[in-house]
Amino acid sequence: MEMKEYYLQKIENLKRAKALQTKEKIRKEGLLDEDDYGRIAVPDKGWEIIPNHSDGSFYGIQGWTDNFCDLMDNHPTYIDGNDAFAGRWIYFMSKMRPNKWNPSYPFTHLIANQEKYDIIHGIGDDAHFAPDFELGLQLGWGGLLKKIETSAAINQGEEQEVFYQAHKRAIVSIQGWIKRHIDELALMIQKEEDPLSRENLLKMRETNRAILHHPPKTLRQACQWIIWFHLASRTYNRDGAGGQIDTLLQPYFENDIKNGIIDKEEAIYYLSCFLINDPIYWQLGGPDGNGGDVSSEISFLILEAADKINTSLNITVRVHDHMNQELFDRSLDYLIKHKNAWPRFSGDKGLISGFMKNGYSEELARKRIAVGCNWMSLPGLEYTMNDLVKVNMAKVFEVAFEEIMATSEVKSTAELWGKFTAHLAKAVTTAADGIKHHLKYQKYNEPELILNLLSYGPLEKGRDVSDGGAMYYNLSIDGAGIAIVADSFAAIEQRIEEEKRLSWEDLQSHLNSNFEDENGERIRTLLQNSERYGQGDTKGDKWASLIAEHFSALVKNESDAEQNHCFIPGLFSWANTVGLGKKVKATPNGRKGGEPINHGANPTPGFVVDGGSLALASAIAKVQPGYGNTAPMQWELDPSLAKEEHAEIIGAIIKTHFELGGTLINVNIMDKEQVLAAHENPDLYPDLVVRITGFTAYFAMLSKEFRQLVVDRILEN
């Protein structure tokens, strides 16, 4: 759609401002191997935390409330006359603590195994489940305050009083932050001479006044309300979960159009401003439960807005049998046009059938949408610890291998498998015990003051979402390093057991020397050229399926219906491939000690000579954990394929992966020459966006080591 120059210019100005803000953030805060988050740099002499513990950190509901309210009270205002909305976030409050777990609740009994198996335990981690924005849009801040009042009258008690008082204070402080923007706008309006800019500022003020207490009624108000909530929530503990963006905004858009309040151009401008505010995870399209798709005209306008801003974006298009083909085609067009890692795609079939295997209905399963890095969530209904807990299976393998070499006289892959699974079971139980410990004490450590507000249960029950407040506890444990383990088993089976080209002792000796001993490099290539996971029907594929199946069963086995604990397996490493790899010595697949483990469920780089896209899509579909969490396909799509004339082929690969059971596809399309040049001089490529895993980041913001990892991944492809 052709837009008025007025809006286009404003969007361009916003993009320029964002580029400068990113540059400033790198200058002040250094490189960061994380999402861009839309956050702007901390000002000089900025806000500092108020510790309530001798270790310099703050804990518990009082500590968090005091800190959050103080920060809100002192948070700078942010208004850009080019924007339709006020506000940006600055402080990463949860990261400003020197210590993230309250030492009064130690987990010393778990530490030995956490270290032995290199488990990222997630104890004390936060957010990573989704609020229901619809709840906030219906109630507004005033309605939420009223809900607190009503609930407090029902749930009386000392602890409850503190609980409700804290949430009330949090809302009031957010309202105060909004109010300061309204006041600031009044000053800006007075000074503004350009009539069009003045009108925009007036509308911005009017919008914020309207939603200060009451629920939003227009598209602009709804977007601004969501922005305030997520800015507050981001500030509190980095929460970045979105929702079903099109159905959330559809009634406001349609009402505005019907009443002649806005036209479509204005809607796209609002949506552009909304998306540039923060790269929150939004889902677009999806099954409506009646054999159709939930998408509507605004779904297309959201894509158009994304096209206009084209920054780091985390929009996921839901692919299903009755999807809106036109929406899918359009999303492919933009993926190819911009080559900027958006959108990504989630597979309905595998996600829904998988989640239902936990005993949930299809109707509920449909509500579990793509709102996080690698993860799905039921907005407002569940507490999950998604993407927070990882078992380094490559480390578990190392423990098993060392044990078999030290204790077993007769060695075999069967014997090794027995030891591996026994240690994996201990590792999974350790991870689950960590989650249980977290659930028991997290309210004393870090209550979810903001996300509680848009969840069903915490306010009603007077209990934190981590403490029985939520309706469901679908607790996530991810396995990392599947390809390293599968390829290691395959290499041993093929080279030692079948071909007898080397002995177990030879292998151990080469591993101990990190393949730097005599004949080491030759043996390393032999092992590397074994039948690997991802090649299709190979030994590596067989082992990968076995590992995935076994890991899933172990995780599921930790579930406890009485406690309302449903554990759900996933295969994902997030950006931890480097860190997890550093903990693992050389492995029998020919990987040298300390090198990164494989990415998520992806095979190790260079697993096939050609046709990598199909091999990847087939392989990852076969190792899906199968209970509604993901094993994403990280797809480094060759630019020679990413052309308009091949859109149908790209679409066919996506659909086939999901037809085969795949759950999520993250796509990168990067020109090798460009990525090498950007690695050399990141400053010259400030707009280059890369999908690291589930999240996107500015390439220039990544550390050199992490940039190298991305470069290797792309070059290997």
Partner: protein, 294 residues
């Protein structure tokens, strides 16, 4: 039923230039032309060959130790390969752990071939893709190919055949009921030039194309545009005129010359005679493409 076996060099997954949709290309070994620009020299001979991929070599010298013919030698810490001395007995292949010494050519039956491509079948559905048989000249192994194609058709696969058409029409015609799409090379109209650059006559090729056109089956023609060979106005006009008198050609296009196969000649110990010819620029290719418009 006698199970035919055929010699295959390679399976290429997700080929973008060999028919509609997502396609897996099966390269049959053996060719009756010797096009000087060919980028698949490993398909010339129908026999198993050894190729040496220097980039994969880690200079461990294991191959030198087992080589009985003296084709492999160690010099200055690097392995050297003299293909002319090689007896092709393959002793070097199992001791080469890095995969630098590699066997080109593998025997397959229709069933083993289907098993090899089966994993790609789900991808064909959403893109109207399928399998393309290429080479070399696939119709040289026509008995094997017929058995494979019939077997693949029984699995409901879309079949394309890429041929130089330098084979008897009797053979081609037997395939007509089973092939969904033909991709045929039309290299030259000028008989002399055809002979010079491919070492074969083009009479049969042109006649087969005309016969195919009369069958009203789906087919397309491609002309490899080779600098100094057929990027000559008169030649392209003649090719274009020939195409224009056909009635049922679905598509006709030029394919630009590239040197991606040059390394393969080295790996096989063959001489690449077009090393001196450069690839043409995009704009030059566009110019020549404009001449073939109707």
């Amino acid at each position: 039923m006698i199970l035919e076996k055929g010699m295959i060099t390679n399976l290429q997954r997700l080929s973008l230039h060999d028919g509609n949709g997502i396609r897996t290309v099966i390269f049959l070994k053996g060719c009756n032309m010797r096009c000087l620009w060919c980028h698949n020299p490993e398909t010339f001979s129908q026999k198993v060959q050894i190729e040496r991929i220097d980039q994969k070599c880690i200079s461990c010298g294991a191959c030198v130790e087992v080589c009985g013919s003296g084709a492999l030698s160690m010099y200055n810490g690097k392995v050297h390969y003299n293909a002319k001395s090689c007896t092709q007995n393959g002793d070097c292949i199992p001791v080469c752990y890095s995969g630098a010494m590699h066997q080109v050519g593998e025997m397959h039956t229709s069933e083993s071939l289907y098993k090899a491509i089966e994993k790609d079948v789900p991808f064909f559905k959403f893109s109207d893709g399928g399998v393309t048989f290429s080479g070399g000249e696939p119709l040289l192994q026509h008995q094997f190919l017929m058995e494979v194609i019939q077997y693949f058709k029984s699995k409901d696969l879309n079949i394309a055949v890429e041929s130089n058409f330098n084979v008897s029409w009797n053979i081609i015609s037997k395939f007509l009921p089973y092939v969904d799409h033909w991709l045929v090379d039309l290299k030259f109209i000028n008989a002399e030039k055809h002979k010079k650059w491919t070492f074969t006559d083009n009479q049969k090729v042109l006649s087969n194309i005309t016969l195919l056109d009369n069958q009203k089956v789906s087919y397309e023609l491609r002309t490899p545009l080779i600098p100094t060979a057929n990027n000559i106005k008169e030649e392209l006009v003649a090719i274009n005129d020939f195409v224009n008198q056909l009635s049922n050609c679905k598509q006709f296009k030029l394919n630009p010359y590239h040197k991606l196969g040059e390394q393969k000649y080295k790996n096989l110990g063959l001489e690449y005679n077009l090393a001196h010819i450069n690839e043409m620029s995009h704009s030059e290719f566009q110019y020549w493409s404009s001449l073939i418009k109707k």
